[in-house]
Symmetry: C2
Subunit: 252 residues, 2 copies
């Protein structure tokens, strides 16, 4: 299915994680906050560019990255947040949308997964048909105004002899998280049980494989919680906006 | 002189362009706007990243890029803008500073000039002891809120057989303007007389050389004029903040 067909399917009510869908098309994290919080959010992204590479900022529920898309309906699943707490998950946030919301689209590590696959590096959560595992680390982001929180990472197990290739390949995409922030040693990130991710699904780490961690666009959701943001709409982790922009636009 | 010694000399009143000074240290464009305009400015930068690569945003006249620096005194020359018009140039803006100013430090093409020189590519304005020539182009930036304006470029003449090298070398620094936006054909940018730059000094383009154009951090000053921003403080073109950050931090 093309990105547009996928968006129409999600608009019609289909709910599923988007990992592995429409290979070659950029996927994006979504976070919408009231205008009154928009400067803090943009500054938080600017100060934490590995976790929050901004692809577009929009003052309407539309984006140049996916002409014709309605950002209130065209993702498979959303989260609505009130006072820093998850209020509900829903496939349609039209009723929740406020005119003063400013929407941030943030790069997603799914972009470089196509490069990993092309190099013969297995992406475990795709072969297992699952959502990527994500963990809230003990590493604090650089704060911005009222926003603060810890770094969230995604994890992919990589065979020890392919770790260098995975670093090199993902490093070609600095605008969509780029190279890993941490390789091996989960405890060094404050991650004590890989089998219990904070978001997404656990995947097996086999003998001879190393857990490799990339900064994750779910980081703003952890900041919403930590900072008690009064209202926000985000995608549900792993349920991304599938855009029309080609991955190669973000390759250096 | 070290970056800190240069800042102290500027604080003491010395006025001169900073091209070629403290090689290896990042130099930065400065623009400070009232808090009420800060989101528009940050969004303008995000939407025009080639021209406005943000290195730091600060709500006080200080920066993590140059600990101990006072951003109101430590640049050699400033411009004060009122209602979109240049009010005056001055080496000290302490008296003009307002508590609600938000300061943006934006990458400067001087960073990749060290790389050009190291590769044996002459940088004409440095060898001529002049300020780099800058031109307001006919190319519109992507607007953001109330901010709009045209792209400003800097120009360096490069021997035809070194243009590819200049592209490759500057492309290693995407956070400080990166690769050229235009090579040759000034008219295609709406630049009709290279001998009359809008900012800085003209330099000679010799036979066998091609004018190469890079996006320039003076672009926000053109936006201040075009948009009638009520108040702003900027550096004077070519008179940059010399930071303590090493150029290599911005190399990919």
């Amino acid at each position: 299915m093309t990105p547009e067909e996928l968006r129409h399917a999600f608009r019609a009510g289909q709910v599923r994680p988007t990992a592995g869908l429409a290979p070659g098309a950029v996927q994006a994290n979504l976070i919408a906050v009231p205008r009154e919080w928009a400067f803090d959010m943009l500054l938080f992204a600017q100060r934490n560019p590995r976790a929050c590479p901004v692809l577009d900022v929009s003052e309407t529920p539309s984006t140049v990255l996916a002409p014709g898309a309605d950002l209130r309906t065209d993702l498979p699943l959303y989260r609505v947040w009130r006072d820093g707490r998850l209020d509900r998950e829903t496939p349609d946030v039209t009723a929740d949308w406020a005119d003063d919301l400013v929407t941030f689209l943030i790069g997603c590590s799914f972009t470089f997964e196509a490069g990993l696959l092309a190099a013969g590096i297995e992406v475990r959560h795709i072969s297992a048909g699952r959502n990527v595992p994500m963990y809230v680390t003990a590493r604090e982001c650089r704060p911005a105004g009222r926003l603060h929180g810890n770094l969230v990472v995604s994890m992919r197990p990589v065979a020890a002899d392919r770790v260098a290739d995975a670093v090199r390949i993902s490093g070609r995409y600095p605008a969509v998280h780029g190279a890993p922030v941490h390789v091996g040693d989960p405890a060094g990130l404050g991650v004590h049980d890989l089998g219990r991710p904070d978001f997404g699904d656990a995947v097996e780490v086999r003998p001879g494989e190393v857990p490799v961690f990339w900064a994750c666009g779910v980081t703003p959701q952890a900041a919403i919680v930590a900072s008690g943001v009064p209202f926000a709409v985000t995608h549900a982790p792993g349920h991304m906006l599938v855009t029309d922009a080609p991955d190669r636009d973000y390759e250096t």
